[in-house]
Every structure is written in structure tokens, then in C-alpha cells.
Subunit: 108 residues, 2 copies
């Protein structure tokens, strides 16, 4: 049986695009990290059948959610229920690290 | 459209038992806080059809997971896939605050 998973062991960066790391996946849940360097984005998209949550661990992000734009920092959650368009941009000065859950998880 | 949800607005305590607060619920996901004062427990139980994750936000906990006991502190995740018995005890000296996800969510 695996031990506790420390998110800090999964943080990373990709100069080309948002860095993703998987903490757990099953047919029910994808739980992972999204790491965005300053200026990076995950462009707005929609999951018709999945709910997504973002829980900000480090940094600050600007989240598109439907027609709205919301700012969130460490300790704040953004929820995109199924069918609601969402995306995120790191317009802060430090790395943005998000705990991300997508449920259910139809696979990559 | 609601704004960002700050978990610190949802922390609480109950002298009788673990305090729970819901951040979001749908048929796909229950996302909430579990807050345990020192000495409090959520006794071991099993969800045959749901995956659960615990992400520790504050404090330190001792988690039962199947036959094992795992310690986890802030920034660490414990996963209990469907069918795996799990529980948690706060045997630390401060409040234990956990972001908890259960998926899917058949309702209360």
C-alpha cells in the first residue's frame, strides 16, 4: 500500500505549456496538479459530462468560469460543474500550483 | 455565478464529533472539509462504490487505510479507492483540517 502523497514531490514546470502531474486516477476520479509559470494559461474548454474543481495551493490565478472571470489564491476553490466552460491563466509573478480534480474520469 | 470559495470560511469545530462542511455537491462529487479537534476521529468505514481522497490543509492526522496506518500533514494526500476501509484520527496538538472529496456522490 502506497504512503501519503506529498504534492510538493509532484510540482514541476514546462516552458512550453502548463505542467500536469497525476496523483491518482480511476474511472471515477482524476486527481492531479496543474502547474503554471507566470504568463501560462490553460485555455477555456468544457467537459460536458465531468465536474472539475481547482484548489489553489500556491500562487494566484485568474479563472474563466462561464461568462465570468474570478481571481483565486492559495486556499481558494473554483468549481466548474459539467458543461460550464473554464480555463485558467497565471497572471501573477510566481508559480501557480493547483490541485485539480475531474470526476468521473473517462481516461486520457 | 458564485466566486471563489475560501476554505478558511468553512472551517469549524464540533465538540462532539468531526465537523463537516460542504464546499460543493453534485451526483458526481462531494467536496468538503473535515475538521477534527485533537483526539477526534472519523472511525474506519468503507464506501464500496466511491473513491475518497483526503488532502491535509492544516495539522496532522493518522489515517487508517486498509491494513495500514499512515501519517499525513499539510500538503499530503491519502487516497482510499472504492472498497478500501479508511478512517482518520487527529492525534496531533492542533486542529486537523482536511479537504475531502468523494466520487461519485450518491447523496447524504
Amino acid at each position: 500500500m502506497a504512503g501519503a502523497i506529498d504534492y510538493r514531490d509532484h510540482v514541476g514546470s514546462n516552458p512550453e505549456k502548463m505542467f500536469k502531474s497525476t496523483l491518482f486516477e480511476s474511472s471515477r476520479l482524476l486527481l492531479g496538479l496543474n502547474c503554471l509559470e507566470p504568463g501560462q494559461s490553460d485555455r477555456a474548454h468544457t467537459h460536458p459530462e465531468q465536474d472539475k474543481f481547482y484548489f489553489v495551493l500556491e500562487g494566484e490565478g485568474e479563472f474563466a468560469l462561464g461568462e465570468d472571470t474570478l481571481k483565486a489564491g492559495a486556499g481558494q476553490t473554483i468549481i466548474a460543474p459539467a458543461g460550464v466552460t473554464h480555463g485558467v491563466t497565471n497572471n501573477g509573478s510566481g508559480r501557480l500550483v493547483i490541485l485539480m480534480g475531474l470526476t468521473p474520469w473517462p481516461g486520457p
